[in-house]
């Protein structure tokens, strides 16, 4: 192992970051969904369109991502299991020696789908769950789906598939955190959560108003020791993430983005080869790394607490260098928490 890396995963991350390898790809294979989650980043009007990529287009894209060194690929949606060819695609990705991860709402998992997931060789399944039956069904705005999801998780676990339950915790389901942790533990699967509610891709900021109240955030930040200030030596790595460097996303319509939460259009695989789009898009990385452009951030007194997301900032301001108000809110709470702890 080279010196300077914490471990092999860290080395792989930086090798791909420095050589601009799309190590992590996320394919939004459909925008269709049988749920209507309150916080979904895909706007309603897009969710109804059925102009998604063909089997062949997705396969070609995967082949090209492979040639560029892509190793991890996520199949997401919408609800990916709504695609009739989903198992053909998963199997194809596995044959190309990707680590294949499936994000699903779990409602379509039954004996038959579990058997197909196993035979395709899917490496990991991540299922969204937002609380107990009452809370979950209220959150996803569908009735009588909870027991089917739980049954699916049990079947996957029983068949030794790596399963993870995940949630976005908002002010509406905050009180479900303990239930979700205990529930995942009782099923023998991992649990993870996020507190960031991102705007919808059309700029609709309603989901950002779902973020949990300040008092609860402070408690959470203390509990998970998130109060520690994490100032990186280099401004660019502090203010940016690796979107567009070793992360790439392809929307259900073939649009290539630096990240699925960063809808800056790099090109369309319906019109050009992915490789060509990826190589040309280095200019976005160069633009993002123009430090002097971040005057608003540089002059902000909470910069050192801020974990700004370039994607959220872009959706909110339609510029590359604007303020991510969700991160700013969290940064303010972090600063208060740190200052109180210090006293």
């Amino acid at each position: 192992m080279n010196e300077g890396f914490k471990n092999l995963s860290d080395e792989l991350f930086w090798q791909s970051y420095n050589n601009r390898v799309p190590l992590y790809s996320l394919l939004e294979v459909t925008s269709r969904c049988n749920f209507d989650c309150i916080h979904c980043y895909i706007p309603q009007e897009v969710r109804r369109k059925n102009d998604e990529l063909s089997t062949k287009e997705i396969m070609s894209c995967l082949e090209e991502i492979k040639t560029l060194g892509g190793l991890y690929t996520v199949f997401t949606g919408g609800e990916p299991l709504l695609r009739e060819d989903i198992f053909t695609l998963l199997e194809f990705a596995k044959k190309l020696n990707f680590v294949v991860i499936l994000f699903t709402n779990g409602s379509l998992i039954n004996k038959e789908t579990v058997s197909k997931i196993i035979s395709c060789g899917v490496d990991k399944v991540e299922i969204s769950l937002y609380g107990n039956k009452h809370f979950h069904e209220k959150f996803v705005r569908r009735k009588d789906v909870f027991s089917q999801i739980v049954s699916g998780i049990k079947m996957l676990k029983h068949n030794n598939i790596d399963v993870c339950i995940k949630s976005v915790l908002t002010k509406y389901n905050w009180n479900q955190k303990k239930f979700l942790e205990n529930f995942a533990y009782s099923l023998g699967v991992r649990y993870k959560f996020d507190i960031i509610c991102t705007p919808r891709n059309n700029g609709d900021i309603i989901p950002t108003t779902f973020i949990v109240e300040e008092k609860k955030l402070v408690k959470l930040l203390k509990q998970y020791n998130l109060t520690q200030v994490d100032i990186k030596k280099d401004f660019t790595t502090h203010i940016l993430c690796s979107a567009g460097r070793n992360i790439v996303a392809v929307s259900s319509r073939g649009e290539v983005y630096p990240c699925i939460q960063f809808p800056y259009f790099l090109g369309s695989i319906k019109k050009e080869k992915f490789v060509k789009i990826w190589r040309r898009s280095f200019s976005i990385v160069e633009k993002l790394e123009e430090t002097k452009q971040y005057q608003q951030c540089l002059n902000c007194d909470i910069l050192q607490y801020c974990r700004r997301c370039p994607g959220i900032s872009f959706i909110q301001t339609r510029t590359l260098y604007g303020c991510d108000t969700v991160a700013k809110l969290l940064a303010c709470v972090t600063r208060k928490t740190v200052e109180k702890t210090a006293v």
Partner: protein, 87 residues
């Protein structure tokens, strides 16, 4: 005896070295340049003799030492469940 890479492993060559992900145990492995050369051959399957011949073409080292090193490497890959025997 031939050896080949176990199915379901994920791997990619980055900067001339292979990174291998074994999701069954969440392990990440890395091969050096000689190991990566051998991994290329193992994709299709090969005997120790075939591997030795290939490496010898690239690195002219003493055959006896090379054979011993390749055997050790194959044993290591087998112990880590990254390859399997066939034929």
């Amino acid at each position: 005896m031939k050896y080949k890479i176990k199915p379901n492993l994920a791997f990619r060559k980055i900067s001339d070295e292979y990174y291998i992900v074994d999701s069954r145990n969440s392990m990440l492995h890395k091969l050096n340049s000689v190991g990566s050369l051998i991994w290329e051959v193992l994709k299709k399957g090969a005997t120790v003799k075939e591997i030795v011949e290939l490496v010898y073409k690239e690195y002219e080292v003493e055959i006896e030492t090379l054979t011993k090193d390749v055997e050790e490497f194959i044993t290591e890959l087998k112990n880590k469940s990254l390859i399997e025997e066939y034929e």
